[in-house]
Symmetry: C2
Subunit: 556 residues, 2 copies
Amino acid sequence: MAGSGLSLVRRAAEAVRRTPGWQKVVFIVAGAGTLTYACQDNRALQICDGTGNKKKVVILGTGWASASFLRNIDTSLYDIHVVSPRNYFTFTPLLPSVTCGTVEARSIVEPVRNIVRKRNGTFRFWEAECFKIDPTNKKVHCRSDVGTNIDGNGEFVVDYDYLIVGVGARPNTFNTPGVTENCHFLKEVEDAQNIRKSVLKCFERASLPNLSEEERRKNLHFVVIGGGPTGVEFAAELHDFVNEDLAKLYPDVKKYVNISVIEAGGHILTMFDKRITQFAEEKFKRDGIDLKTNFKVVKVSDKDITMTNPATGEIAVPYGMAVWSTGVGTRPIIMDFMKQVGQEDRRALATDEWLRVQGCEDVYALGDCATIAQRKVMVCSCYSIFKTSHRITISLYGTLELYLKSNQMKGFNDLLKDSDGNSKELKELNIEQFKKALAQVDSQVKMLPATAQVAAQEGSYLANCFNKMKACEENPEGPLRIRGAGRHRFKPFRYRHLGQFAPLGGEQTACQLPGDWVHVGHSTQWLWYSAYARLGKAIHLWKGLQQPIDSNRLIP
Amino acid sequence: MAGSGLSLVRRAAEAVRRTPGWQKVVFIVAGAGTLTYACQDNRALQICDGTGNKKKVVILGTGWASASFLRNIDTSLYDIHVVSPRNYFTFTPLLPSVTCGTVEARSIVEPVRNIVRKRNGTFRFWEAECFKIDPTNKKVHCRSDVGTNIDGNGEFVVDYDYLIVGVGARPNTFNTPGVTENCHFLKEVEDAQNIRKSVLKCFERASLPNLSEEERRKNLHFVVIGGGPTGVEFAAELHDFVNEDLAKLYPDVKKYVNISVIEAGGHILTMFDKRITQFAEEKFKRDGIDLKTNFKVVKVSDKDITMTNPATGEIAVPYGMAVWSTGVGTRPIIMDFMKQVGQEDRRALATDEWLRVQGCEDVYALGDCATIAQRKVMVCSCYSIFKTSHRITISLYGTLELYLKSNQMKGFNDLLKDSDGNSKELKELNIEQFKKALAQVDSQVKMLPATAQVAAQEGSYLANCFNKMKACEENPEGPLRIRGAGRHRFKPFRYRHLGQFAPLGGEQTACQLPGDWVHVGHSTQWLWYSAYARLGKAIHLWKGLQQPIDSNRLIP
């Protein structure tokens, strides 16, 4: 894979020429600028671009990664084709606010056609789900959503020169029985809207005249499973919503309201600094939010949630509404694709540092469905050190830097201290000490977190690579190749951590910025908004104001 | 019924005393100010107010009539209980705008609790559907919506001193097969939202790569069945939406869009002046909206709409989305109630001019589910004339006035002319000529139209009657009784026609005001808004701005 950078375009061109079946297709319809063909098997139909001048880039998904790619790609250089079951991008950090109506759903979505509409070049969007990637023939198999009254099964095939896989992940239920049927997730706009309806229904039900006190309590028991940022933020929003608004409208039943957060681990917000975790836990206690740590949910029925704890054993708690927010899992299409490219044993699609999927050609993957298989720090560092006259390149590929940051270490010295268990500062170290320290990093650094920040940075990185592909063909800007001669065409992807935020209700937000800055308070809320503005939404919204079209009208 | 006015309160009090079962109930829960009891049969539960000081008014429904009653009733005089499957009032005239996203759904709804929340007195709302009225025992049987996880079947019984029935009507399909399964209605906010989603889905489906031209046309064929104000306004809104917004986003398929309006009669907007009908038909022609008059829909499948016409016979037209808007029918609960009170043969619940349901005690009906059985003009008028020294009271109960207006007659003389077929003006007429003219009115005047205007005026009229019930008991303000002695307690309900409006797209609205004023143009749009402002929404919205609570957060 490492040597494939230089010949990427050439190989792609060959692959297109090699693609079989072009001679066998039957002409059906000539749309505006696009030719549509029927394959011989008469079942699925195949679409190929008729212009033939530009490379065809097919993008799967319209989440953070794909949208960020679309915002940055120069559409005059490529034919851009997007396949996604959602024709809009969702600003996911505000989803918990939609659940309580603080923010209107239409305010946090943007039609994908609007993202690239204003620029030159071909752009096509198809509202369909890709159910199979065929990297051998360079095709993706798609299916339009069911319930259409089109004849046939709504399947079609799209071929590609470059494929960008950004389909994201699905909520992870850990195969807990009853979760899919009885819990809400919080990944899509529809989820947030359903949660809001459900909360209001619970209040209406609890207000009915023929209920026992116990039944009212049950209806107004809101349970959040998972103490990560999404679950915590939703619990905080819900608390504000209940106390600020609903208590006034439903004064008779407000005393029955109870919000629980169930976390399998010992603490909530474990990915944050301990000070933030502690602050959040104390605030929840003051707010009356019931925090159940070390409880693992084993079953959810339509009436109650069963969970276990070493101290109490198995207990069943009745509930009115539950939100499941325990992290993400792999989509079936990705699992199938991973099998095809020999990655069966991985949890997500592995790419190299240039976001190319390992084991196939011309396929890129980014966002939550992918993970960058970081090269071993030790190998690279030692190699670099002895190649660059003993100067330590500690930020090599970002791996080491990220490890230091996530462990709240200020510099390389901290790592050495830690590695030796020695508290006094080291001035000098031999190669063995150095190797030992790096081996520790290698054993612990796993992958970039599944966040909007990572996905958006990957999308814009890849778009920039595509934009300067020609220029970099001649003047490669990447690092020296470890194996083989010359330089890599592009610089590798390097994640810049902008910090993490967790809104805790009452307009208080905890934030952890690079450089060990931790802050909790009202002003942080604005910092939070501005950090996301950087990721493109606010800027794009501002741009949107100049457009004559009201994009909000176009979104369900 | 005519003599029951004076003794209404006395009889109600007796009826409450006579209500059986109070001694047999078993105490279960004491809520805040309300006692809840279980009936002996253990199946349904009964709720009775524990205070006993005030009369209990139960209102069914939260539409125009009920909301208008709630806005005007003095809640310090009565215990107000509302039962409705919808916990919000919908500003229905803007529903067609919601279908195209011009207006946000949350902007046209208002939580029913907010309407009365600010005043003193008991107010309770139960989100449930009343499925049976029992006027003999003065109880209503209600059922909470399914899908609750409460044990039991969610049924309860509410007793009343006064019952106000404002459940509205349901869409009338005329038993046409396939309508309920395949067509959208346009009566609720959810309907409007589903229509919007459906329109966007049609565009996405038509954009898919593997469709024939015919299939694209089919997907983008939008059909409106019914040429009344709602259907016409929706067709006009959709035309604007498609041409202003969607054509830009879906340039490749805009040429396939077709909007059809199917009307069984010879013209659209037949309830308006002919000039407006003509203008609308010409505007639709210019806009390319396909107007199919004299076509009767006989069947709707998931693929096509079958209709008949004397000239063409039966034809089947493929379509992408259809909206059914052909008027209203009677709800099952009202049909059942009509049987109980001996009104089997009627189309809607008949009330007298004081909105009291004929055939039972202490039950009022208003809005689309009810109709005022106007007394014969001839009887009343002749009686009045000879009682009030030969002065003709032409506005008696509004019946005659409404007839003159709806037939564009300026005065009583027009009626006489018309009656005799004589064009010269009459200065004098004998009693036989006069009777003949009135008999003509009696034969043609049927009922007030099923509009928001009528419902809102009925609601505020009835609330005012309830507010001054005590005062009017001593000093009746109504007319002299035709049968029996003394005066009626209240003035009868009298409808004041404010005009009719039909938005025709492109910011053009046709309006027909009292006094034969017809206007079409841009300025009329504002007249339209201001006319509805009169009906309370705008004023209430303005009031809402002073409230600390954001009512929009509370609505799905």
